[in-house]
Amino acid sequence: LLLSVVCFAPQNYPLYIRSVPTENELKFHYTVHTSLDVVDEKISAMGKALVDQRELYLGLLYPTEDYKVYGYVTNSRVKFVMVVDSSNTALRDNEIRSMFRKLHNSYTDIMCNPFYNPGDRIHSRAFDSMVNSMMMQVC
């Protein structure tokens, strides 16, 4: 169950937060926010280790009792995070990976929209619908 999708600017403030409506949305936010720690860790590790080979997918960041948090970072240091319900063990790693790719692509499109100023929060029908479809598809 894909619970939430978040994009971060390189400076780690959220560009886009989307989560399935739920009473403890707050908890999502806390979880996601904390998971940034791991993202940073992984990125710095990556910075050291594999510079040339570009694996943007960071894998499982931060398992908690109820959520699994996966991460992905573009070469421009924009970060994507997806929160999945822990009970959903069906979701395979490469599915997640491909979902991230989708995100990344439509993010690039957003960036190409002349009316979008980089760094702003993302308000885009296209992006929303894409995320929706992903949430549908996974649930």
Binding site: Q11, P14, L26, H33, L36, E41, E65, A90
Partner: protein, 1267 residues
């Protein structure tokens, strides 16, 4: 007791329970035959066996392994042989060895053979084919034997009795106990054999086992299938690998089991439940965490074996095994990581399987497990390693903390008044579920078990443990730079403190967290944390902070309407409470209460003159959910007087403020995540200040327009939370606006002010007061300022056209800038006018009044009275800071002669200057500055204004003569751009002598002279008697613009005055050229004679009384110098080209000079020209006062002298070269001087005459110069 016996005993004990699984497990090898013999060999054997590693090739293409074999030698018993279907792989004997040292055929026949046969049969019965017969030989034995057979015989016998076609199943071990090379060899041979056979057996048995196992697994869909059974089977395999120290493989077995189970659970969740799974769903009764201290947790294993294990049991056991193996493999960090996953996983699975779990039970289990894992890891790593790998363990720590916390809440341990009865009951139940502490930790000083029991025992104990854990976790997180995680734990801690009514402790953590969330723009988290913070601050009684936080919350649209209202109410209540201690005000930053959106000035350029009205309109966006009654809104203004007085003048200000008067402000709130993270860019601007008069640069500089932002950034994040930064400047100037209601959303507030002191007013701060509370906007940015100026009245007079022409009426524009002066009725401008410039008054001329901003206010006709000396213009009534404009026609009359003279030399000046400046067209007009004195009503001093007029014409005169007849020519040039009509020209002799007249040879009619044209006028001079030396002439011509027909105004004519001097002809020069005698024509290259005859026309007159005159015996002569030159070098002058002649001063006295010239070209050649000069002998008086002209004469002269000296230098030499040669040496020496005659004194009658020259015969080339 010997080893074998021990083994036996051990083996006895192993009947039930089958095996004690310890690390000491070794593959079993049975020994039959001569036990004593084996016993004697056992020690050597057991230590020799593992010495060399052995390569183990394996089925299913698994990578071969090198392993050191050990084994457990036990006495052969039939029961040892596994029955069909026995899965206890570990108990299988892998090899059977028969020992004998029989060397006596008899003995062999009688006993040994049968024994072996029996043994073999038993083996066959259990079709185990892994056997070996060892025949030990020793010479010692042979000795006392009588009938000795060859050693080999027994072996051979055995071989062909038993091992048919696998003779290698029988080996010889000779003198094993001797230390001889031979015995060594035999040992080696034997050992290798043994190893090989063992491995073969392993491979075979394992292979078979794995196959069985697989088939079993394939059956897993069948109804009867039981996971537990399968588990046991595969674990056997794991055991064997473990026994063979192949931990990887062992681990794989467990991981497979793990995965299999998980899969089942998932499927179960998905709906298809395997019925065997159901009993894993039995309610959880015990939750005594993981046990990782012993390699195998037998109790749990049995539970599984007997299919009584709960899910937790299974998971725990599985993990404990994985953990053991991982630790063997030196991978403790994987343990910690897997542990975390496991715990999460279990919690999930229990949920999924809907297993009923008493509240808190899981928390206990998780808590214990976390600590257990941690301790286990600590057990096998040293401090340094652990510290280096905190990132792996910290997860467990925080998980444990979390769980302990929830337990605490569950058991009512987190409250001032401890747990109530039902809390206690719950606690008891939970503890019961832990069961008794396990023996292995029972007597340890501290264990997870003890910790938990203690923590739950009392409020204090709990607090202690909880704090310990939390702090430890926070520290670890911070150490590895997981700040956010640390903050999160901190927040839990804060909640805890709040519950414990310890707000002061809580605040730190909340602030810390809030800071992070703000910094990263996490609206929701910010809101949530703020709510907590508000509560905390309320309890702490930090009024300001509390109010600020609540104001922030009141404006926070992540909250529900009601929440916001309530927070807003909080503020208002405080604000309006009748306070006992007066004057104690609370100052809060405004951003959270209302946002300044735009600021609008009227007038838009935000520039007003002293006393002017200024209107400022603010657009405030109120963040409050309800209308707020505001006592007053105040703008604090900073006033600064401008040093640069110019800056206060209207034009500057109007020039520099071109905005539409609206300043809009960036929206703080929405933009703040950005502004936090990347600094706003410097907004730098160049600033030039030019002086009003000539706009030369006064000052230049760079202004940083957003310095506020940049400087504010440091404390910005905090300033939102602690109003310590908020201070009100006490500016003397404050704009107020009182008693209004701020509606939620947009409000417009208008301030009116009357400008007082001139200067610049900067709006610095905005302050909204609500009761005791003041909301302050510290910096109004972008800078908003308005300027007040006061201006002196000014009068400007400027021509409408770019230049005024003299003599014709033209418009001049008067501009009166009233400045601070108000035009009253009867105010006039008094022009004291020079009669050279009358002011022409048109009754219809009007004055227009403009406002400061150049819009037309009114128009009124202009009254002008002119007396002969003064023109007074009565100005219309106009308020201060207005502009009056009107136009007048003026005309400059270049009448007065003196003014003309002045003009002349100004002309020259002009010309010179112009030429110096840039090579413009040399003819530029003479200008006259006409000063006008004007008395203005606003000052006692009269202003003097100079108008510059240009004389449109420029005149030159020249004297022409024909023989004795004389003519005067005047050339009038029109320099202006317009064309004029010239009429009635005239030339008069000022000194009027009767016998003298000027006869005009000009058309009387009007003439049009176009721009940049010249017109010539000629008069003949006629006289009867004696003439004056010089005569003054006055030329005048009247003119008017050719375009304008109206002759109404009588224009003064253009006047030009000049004089002509000694114009009378003294000498008459005649030149003639004769072809060489005999020739008819001149020929090129042949010499011709040139005759110059100079004739004096008159007697000595006073015209030429000068030092040239020499008196010798009553009869005077004057020295003349002639010079024959030919610039066009048609002629070569041969011999002297110049000379001095002394001329008798008498009428008709003639002097002829002959010389030879040679035509250089054929054709009609003009005569060489002849020049005459007066030849003045040197006179000391003159050597000093030589002027430029005479120098040149000098040179010329000196040249000729030169020529004289060197008898006759052929003067075909170019004169130029001589010039330069000569000019050097004679400079400055006192010299005779030449004086040129004034034009007309010498008349050259043969000027312009030509003579035909024909080319010489022998010329091949015919050169014709056409002239």
């Amino acid at each position: 007791m010997d080893a074998a016996a021990a083994a036996a005993a051990e083996e006895e004990g192993r009947e039930k329970p089958p095996v004690i699984y310890t690390m000491e497990n070794k593959p079993i090898v049975t020994c039959a035959g001569d036990q004593n013999l084996f016993t004697s060999l056992y020690p050597t054997l057991s230590q020799q066996l593992p010495r060399e590693p052995m390569e183990w090739r394996r089925s299913y293409g698994r990578a071969p392994k090198m392993i050191h074999l050990e084994s457990n030698f036990v006495q052969f018993k039939e029961e040892l042989l596994p029955k069909e279907g026995n899965k206890a792989l570990l108990t299988f004997p892998f090899l059977h060895i028969y020992w004998t040292e029989c060397c006596d055929t008899e003995v062999y026949k009688t006993t040994v053979k049968d024994d072996i046969t029996k043994w073999q049969n038993v083996l066959k019965a259990h079709n185990s084919l892994d056997w070996l017969i060892v025949v030990v030989e020793s010479d010692a034995k042979k000795k006392n034997k009588t009938n000795i057979l060859p050693r080999t015989s027994i072996v051979d016998k055995i071989r062909n009795d038993f091992c048919n076609k696998q003779s290698d199943r029988c080996v010889v071990l000779s003198d094993p106990l001797k230390d001889s090379s031979r015995s060594q060899e035999s040992w080696n041979a034997f050992l290798t054999k043994l190893r090989t056979l063992l491995l073969m057996s392993f491979t075979k048995n394992l292979g078979k086992f794995e196959d069985d196992m697989r088939t079993l697994r394939e059956k897993r869909t069948e109804p009867g299938w039981s996971f537990c059974e399968y588990f046991m089977v595969q674990e056997e395999l794991a055991f064997v690998f473990e026994m063979l120290q192949q931990f990887e493989d062992a681990l794989v077995q467990y991981d497979e089991l793990d995965a299999l189970f998980s899969q089942y659970v998932v499927n179960f969740g998905a709906g298809d439940g395997a019925n065997w799974l159901t009993f894993f769903c039995q309610p959880v009764r015990s939750w005594n965490g993981l046990i990782l201290r012993k390699p195998i947790d037998m109790e749990k294993r049995e539970l599984i074996q007997n299919q009584e294990a709960t899910l937790l049991d299974l998971r725990s056991y599985l993990f404990s095994r994985q953990c053991t193996l991982l630790i063997f493999l030196q991978r403790p960090w994987e343990v910690s990581q897997r542990a975390l996953e496991l715990l999460h996983n279990c919690v999930q699975e229990l949920k999924l399987l809907e297993v009923s779990v008493p509240p808190g039970a899981l928390d206990c289990w998780v808590f214990l497990s976390c600590l257990e894992v941690l301790q286990r890891i600590e057990g096998c790593c040293d401090r340094a390693q652990i510290d280096a790998n905190v990132s792996h363990t910290v997860g467990l720590w925080s998980y444990a903390t979390e769980k302990l916390k929830s337990l605490g809440y569950l058991c009512g341990l987190v409250s001032e008044k401890g747990p109530n009865s039902e809390d206690l009951n719950r606690t008891v139940d939970l503890l019961a579920g832990l069961g008794a502490e396990r023996p292995e930790t029972a007597n340890a000083s501290q264990s997870p078990y003890k910790k938990l029991k203690e923590a739950l025992s009392s409020v204090e104990a709990f607090e202690k443990h909880y704090l310990d854990l939390s702090h430890a976790t926070i520290e670890m997180y911070t150490n590895i730079g997981r700040i956010r995680s640390a903050k999160l734990v901190g927040k839990d801690l804060a909640e805890f403190y709040m519950r414990k009514k310890g707000p002061q402790k809580a605040e730190v953590y909340l602030q810390g967290a809030l800071k992070t969330y703000l910094a990263e723009g996490w609206a929701l988290l910010v809101t949530h944390t703020r709510k907590q913070l508000a509560e905390c601050q309320k309890q702490l009684g930090q009024i300001e902070n509390y109010l600020q936080t609540s104001s922030l919350l009141a404006g926070d649209n992540h909250l529900t309407e009601n929440e916001r209202k309530s927070f807003c109410q909080e503020i208002l209540d405080f604000a309006n409470q009748q306070e006992e201690n007066q004057g104690q005000k609370v100052v809060l930053p405004m951003q959270c209460f209302a946002q300044l959106q735009t600021l609008h000035f009227d007038p838009p350029n935000a520039v007003v003159h002293v006393g002017g009205k200024l209107l400022i309109e603010l657009t405030l966006l109120s963040q409050m959910p309800i209308p707020v009654q505001v006592d007053q809104i105040a703008i604090h203004v900073h006033f600064s007087i401008e040093k640069n007085s110019y800056r206060k003048t209207a034009e500057w200000l109007t020039k520099h403020k071109t905005s539409n008067g609206v300043i809009s402000f960036p929206n703080e709130i929405t933009s703040f995540p950005l502004s936090r993270n990347n600094l706003p860019a410097l907004e730098l601007y160049e600033m030039y200040e030019r002086s009003p008069s000539d706009n030369s640069l006064n000052t230049a500089g760079i202004i940083c327009k957003n310095v506020h932002m940049l400087l504010r950034r440091q404390e910005s994040s905090s300033s939102l939370d602690m109003p310590s930064g908020v201070t009100l400047e006490d500016g003397a100037h404050v704009l107020k606006c009182s008693n209004l209601i701020l509606e939620p959303g947009v409000n417009k507030i208008t301030f009116n002010t009357q400008a007082k002191e001139p200067g610049t007013y900067t709006l610095r701060q905005l302050c909204i007061s609500v009761g005791k509370v003041q909301f302050v906007l510290l910096h109004i940015y972008p800078i908003a300022q308005y300027d007040v100026y006061s201006q002196e009245p000014q009068l400007k007079v400027e021509p409408m056209t770019d230049s005024l022409l003299a003599g014709i009426p033209q418009k001049v524009k008067f501009t009166v800038t009233t400045g601070h002066y108000t035009m009253k009725n009867g105010d006039t401008l008094q022009l004291s006018n020079a009669d050279a410039m009358p002011i022409l008054y048109h009754p219809e001329s009007k004055a227009v009044i403009y406002s400061n901003t150049r819009e037309k206010i009114s128009e009124s006709s202009l009254k002008i009275q002119s007396s002969e000396k003064i023109t007074s213009i009565s100005l219309p009534v106009a308020p201060a800071y207005h502009v009056i404009e009107f136009e007048l026609e003026v005309m400059y009359l270049p009448s007065a002669t003196q003014s003309v003279v002045e003009t002349e030399n100004t002309t020259n000046k002009e010309v010179h200057r112009k030429n110096k400046e840039k090579q413009k067209q040399d003819n530029c007009m003479a200008t006259v500055d006409q000063k006008v004195t004007i008395d203005c009503p606003w000052s006692i001093y009269s202003t003097i204004i100079a108008l510059t007029f240009c004389i449109p014409f420029n005149a030159k005169h020249s004297l022409l003569s024909a023989g004795k007849r004389k003519y005067v020519q005047v050339c009038v040039q029109n320099l202006s751009d317009l064309s004029f009509q010239l009429s009635d020209n005239s030339l008069k002799n000022s000194a009027d002598c009767t016998d003298f007249q000027l006869i005009p040879l000009n058309p009387e009619s009007q003439q049009v002279i176009h721009s940049k044209q010249s017109i010539f006028f000629v008069w003949e001079l006629r006289w009867t008697k004696e003439l004056p030396l010089s005569l003054q002439c006055l030329f005048s011509v009247s003119f008017c613009p050719a375009t304008s027909e109206e002759q109404s105004i009588t224009l003064k004519p253009f006047i030009y005055e000049f004089q002509v001097e000694n114009f009378f002809t003294l000498y008459h020069v005649k030149t003639e050229i004769f072809p060489p005698p005999g020739a008819e024509y001149c020929k090129t290259g042949s010499l011709c004679s040139l005759e110059v005859s100079i004739t004096r026309l008159v007697d000595l007159s006073d015209v030429d009384r000068d030092e040239a005159l020499t008196e010798s015996d009553g009869y005077c002569t004057t020295k003349l110098m002639y010079e024959v030159g030919d610039n066009s070098s048609n002629w070569a002058v041969c011999g002297k080209s110049s000379g001095v002649v002394s001329m008798p001063v008498a009428a008709q006295a003639t002097h002829k000079v002959h010389m030879e010239v040679m035509p250089l070209f054929a054709g009609y050649l003009p005569f060489p020209d002849v020049r005459l000069f007066k030849y003045l002998p040197h006179h000391s008086a003159h050597s000093t006062q030589l002027d430029a002209d005479s120098w040149i004469e000098n040179d010329n002269l000196s040249v000729d002298k030169n020529v004289d000296d060197q008898a006759d230098s052929s003067s075909i030499r170019s004169r130029g070269s001589l010039h330069s040669a000569a000019s050097g040496e004679h400079k400055g020496l006192p010299m005779p001087r030449l004086q040129s005659f004034s034009s007309g004194q010498v008349f050259n009658c043969s000027i312009g005459m030509q003579i035909l020259v024909i080319p010489s015969k022998d010329d091949h080339v015919l050169e014709v110069s056409v002239t």
